[in-house]
Symmetry: C2
């Protein structure tokens, strides 16, 4: 039988008789034949592959951060349902590669990736702009890029931050501070935006020293907490823009002899796994990280399969989950 016939049965075309279809399938099973993705890619100019660029700097390499891990899980499932696979570009130290193009875009178009999701890279990275200027669909996670075939998905960071301070205020706090994320990142910036907005709306002032920036990792928050505790009028509550930093903040408070939440209330952001395991268990704003990955994947495939509609920016809802680091249970116990 001819190659075209085989191709037809494997692609599910209907103009092939049931008997020959069976015969082809039979023989294919016997030889355990699998069609070559490379050849198919070559002629169809589509690879059914989604490129993933993921990079968070050298000191905290890649997907070490739980956020990206969870997103990756969601992404994998999201695109998997739709018939795509993931192409994870191996980030390398500059210069250490075996003479491969360093540019992600370059790598992606070499492999003819049908779309790209980018996360963990700096918004200012020239690679990002190269990506959006290219004509391949791109979905970013937590990076504020939009374009003709480019969009991004993120949690409702502003709303989440407002939720956090409203909760703290509801517990009676007025001296509320924040340990912010890097203002160069979208979530970092938005969470302090939300913090400020809610403080203003509540009529609260933000004294100097009540807003210090960390880098999303515990050590930076430890230092930040120490500096706040050294203030003449230290805060009684702090909104920490990431759980990872919150554990650093708690550690600093505790080793300064304070007890959380009695002396200092803390609410975090993310609801990563450790949040419920630290002591005290963290009150935090949960974002659906797997959901972000899922949404990113589905949005990307949507964009791939009809490229003419410009993709919407997706923002996912967050929710407050109260545990013990804010003193809400204690308050509830007393009051009710």
């Amino acid at each position: 039988m001819s190659v075209s016939t085989v191709s037809r049965v494997f692609n599910g075309y209907d103009d092939v008789s049931p008997t020959t279809r069976e015969r082809v399938l039979e023989i294919a099973r016997k030889l355990d034949y699998a069609p070559s993705a490379a050849a198919r890619t070559l002629v169809k100019q589509r690879s059914q592959l989604i490129g993933v660029v993921l990079f968070t700097g050298y000191e905290h390499p890649d997907i070490h951060h739980p956020f990206f891990q969870e997103v990756l899980v969601g992404l994998k499932h999201g695109i998997g349902e739709l018939g795509y696979d993931l192409l994870l570009f191996a980030t390398e130290q500059p210069g250490s590669s075996r003479g491969r193009p360093h540019s992600y875009l370059r790598r992606a178009e070499q492999h003819r990736a049908d779309g790209i999701v980018v996360m963990g890279v700096d918004r200012a990275d020239p690679e990002v702009d190269k990506l959006v200027r290219s004509d391949i669909p791109v979905i970013a996670v937590d990076i504020d890029v939009v374009g003709d075939h480019t969009s991004f998905v993120a949690s409702d960071n502003i709303g989440g931050a407002r939720l956090a301070v409203r909760h703290l205020h509801g517990l009676g706090h007025t001296r509320i501070a924040t340990i912010a994320g890097p203002s160069a990142t979208k979530p970092g910036a938005d969470r302090t935006l939300g913090f400020r907005a809610e403080m203003r709306e509540l009529g609260l002032t933000i004294p100097p020293g009540y807003e210090v920036e960390g880098d999303f990792y515990p050590e930076s928050a430890e230092r930040a907490m120490q500096s706040m505790l050294a203030l003449p009028e230290p805060p009684t509550a702090v909104f920490v823009a990431a759980d990872m930093m919150a554990v650093g903040a708690i550690r600093a408070a505790q080793s300064a002899g304070l007890s959380v939440p009695e002396d200092l209330a803390i609410v975090g952001f993310d609801d990563i796994r450790v949040a419920e395991l630290v002591s005290p268990p963290l009150t935090t704003i949960r974002q659906d990280m797997v959901g972000i990955g899922l949404a990113a994947g589905r949005a990307l495939v949507e964009q791939i399969e009809n490229p003419d509609v410009t993709p919407p920016v997706l923002t996912l809802p967050v929710e407050l989950v109260v545990r013990e680091s804010c003193g809400a249970q204690a308050a509830a116990l007393i009051n009710g």
Copy 2:
């Protein structure tokens, strides 16, 4: 100029004059041309891609577990240095795929992956045997498979377990129990092997009920701990075969009114991130998860690039890191 000339300059052959090489490079830059990976794969029969199959069952989907995340990081760097990229097969619920082959092997050979690393799948999975019977290089992580072009890498789980009970015994404990990992997994089995070996060598007996099996996740360990606490003579120390389970064990002990380590000493295994964040901070056996990934990647590429040598099985060293869950500091304080 001809295609062959272009090919020659891009592959670094020397039989092309410096002037034409420059001209080609110049024009390529102007058109920003990137050679097609698909076409190259088609003719060279190599894709420079490493397939990753990763699956841990439906209730704990995929790379949710920190172990695999860390391994993936190492893997990515290991193969990245050597000029390969990662192809992450999107695991899907059975039946939900858009008519794609369900077999990993099938998917791998479709994409012409040069090698495969497999982890998180059950040793009894028929896919695993299909993989080792195929003629494509395979490295497994924590799965006991060997073959002509197949091997695996794992930590020294036996040695680690011995380290743990020796440490507990050195602290004066004699009633030592274990919450084991699934005996169907290599690390689960080996860690209880090590536990038993060291107990025997120390002349300690293992009473009935002192060895109960969990599934590497906290809830199972919580139940296991409760059952041990209900014993007529409960243990004074327990070696928990995974940190994730150790936090469950601690939780169970604490909510039974016991204090760790005063009433019950615990040592874990893995040294995942949460280990130092729980309270009390976990004494545990550290395995180098990123290192496992690195080793797996390098071994796989080695196997790809000279397929005639049969690959060695790699076992990586572990180390005891003592924190507070075993009472060692307290002991040290008193004694010294």
